[in-house]
Amino acid sequence: MNEVTEMTESTDTLCVDDLFPHNWILHHPMYLRMQSLDVEDGAQVHAAFLVYMDLTEVRHWKDVSSLKCPELQVVLLEGREKEGAPMQSILPLPVHQYLNHKSVRTVLGRGFPVLLCVVASDSTLVYQRMTDGFVTPDPPAGQIQDHGRRQHRKRHQQH
């Protein structure tokens, strides 16, 4: 008897919870795939999923896939920024964790440009580029004017 009423109730009103169940992440196919990679660190898997969603839904990256890095026991992502762009590796990590240089070298060893993505507890994502070797910084933009002794003159005027 109760079951019947419940069923009728649910079919009559279409509530938000049906469209977006509060545990929708757990049912998401990509999340389930990441779970199947058998990485113990649940927080890292969750972080990886958030990065995945950001890359695909917000930034519209292409060919984004997840894989397991056996040496580090983490979920890595790979994807392209645009169609035809080179492949990149993304290392998603929760903010409270630690990073060592050897892990970075391992990910760099895959041969693709590496992005480190740090995930905060409020789902804020911070991306950082990591490259092997010496990367010269961009020179300052804009016109560089030599002001000469202007500073000196300004101070002088004050007196």
Binding site: H101, Q128, V135
Partner: protein, 314 residues
């Protein structure tokens, strides 16, 4: 040996040293060595370089250091400082390493030390003699002119009958009988030479001056390896206290370039909090420098470098 360093090194902006150093060219005994020995003096645990020639030699070896002395003519400011040049731990070690390899050249000198000192003594005495002669001539000239002044004054005031004859007569007397006493000779004390000459003490200092290995923390070892590797690649390095890193790495002399990198030395397996990694990378991007994570692989293994850049993905 023309060991008179010009003001060339010192007149560039930011490193204004006022006095050019007279290095007492005659007194130096050495034949020209390929790598001049840099005199480093340890004050406690601080390494200092005092002579301008040594500062320049250190610069040519790629060691920048920092000037920490007051300028005698501009003492009440620290915008521009002078010698001594203070060396960092890694810089000191690098120079000692280099000079240890040159020690065999130095050790051949002690045989000739006796002759060297002989030559120096003779040279010194010769200088004293010529100085005495020059000074006695000048003293005589001055006496004569004083006499003339006195005679001229008396003539105007008095109007005596024999002015000219008296003057020339007295001048002659002066010429013949004037003696410049030795005790009145002015002697120049060459402070440049005092205590900083090529004596055996300096050599023993340099050979024994390695800081004890017990004092060396493992972190300072990795810092030194990174420092040496960067130096071998031709970069100039200064300390990066202002930027939260270990070193600032310049593609050339710091006087000509801005730094390109902030080097942070970590061990390969050292765990870094992610927040710190982000913080240092963000700082680097704010000052237009790339953060370089440097890890030495081992005593003989190469150093691994990873550049961190702000991704620009907002």
């Amino acid at each position: 040996m023309d060991a008179t360093p010009t003001a060339e090194l010192t007149s560039t902006p930011g490193q204004h040293v006022v006095e050019p150093l007279q290095d007492g060219g005659g007194g130096h005994s050495t034949s020209r060595r390929p790598d001049p020995l840099i005199g480093i003096h340890l004050c406690g645990s601080t390494a200092l370089v005092w002579r301008t020639a040594d500062v320049r030699a250190a610069r040519e070896a790629g060691v920048v250091g920092s000037l920490v002395g007051a300028l005698p003519r501009q003492p009440r400011q620290n915008g521009r400082l002078g010698r001594p040049l203070q060396l960092g731990l890694e810089e000191l070690r690098l120079l000692l390493e280099k000079q240890a390899s040159g020690d065999d050249i130095e050790s051949s000198a002690p045989n000739s030390e006796g002759e060297v000192q002989q030559a120096e003594t003779e040279c010194y005495e010769e200088e004293q003699r010529s100085s005495f002669e020059a000074q006695s001539i000048l003293a005589l000239e001055e006496r004569k002119s004083a006499l003339l002044r006195a005679m001229g004054g008396a003539k105007q005031g008095g109007g005596t009958s024999q002015p000219d004859g008296g003057v020339s007569g007295r001048l002659e007397v002066l010429d013949q009988s004037f003696v410049f006493p030795r005790s009145a000779v002015a002697v120049q004390l060459r402070t440049a030479r005092a205590g900083l000459s090529h004596c055996s003490d300096e050599r023993t200092l340099l050979s024994a001056a390695q800081p004890g290995s017990s004092q060396r923390a493992p972190r300072s070892e990795s810092r030194f390896q990174v420092f040496r590797d960067l130096r071998q690649r031709g970069y100039y390095i200064t300390s990066a206290g202002k930027f939260g890193g270990d070193f600032l790495v310049y593609p050339g002399d710091p006087l000509r370039f801005h730094a390109h990198f902030i080097a942070v030395c970590v061990a390969l397996d050292e765990q870094l909090p992610l927040v710190d990694v982000l913080a240092v990378a963000r700082l680097g991007s704010n000052v237009k420098k790339t953060v370089l994570l440097c890890s030495p692989g081992g005593p003989t293994a190469p150093v691994h470098y990873t550049s961190l850049q702000w991704s620009g993905m907002v």
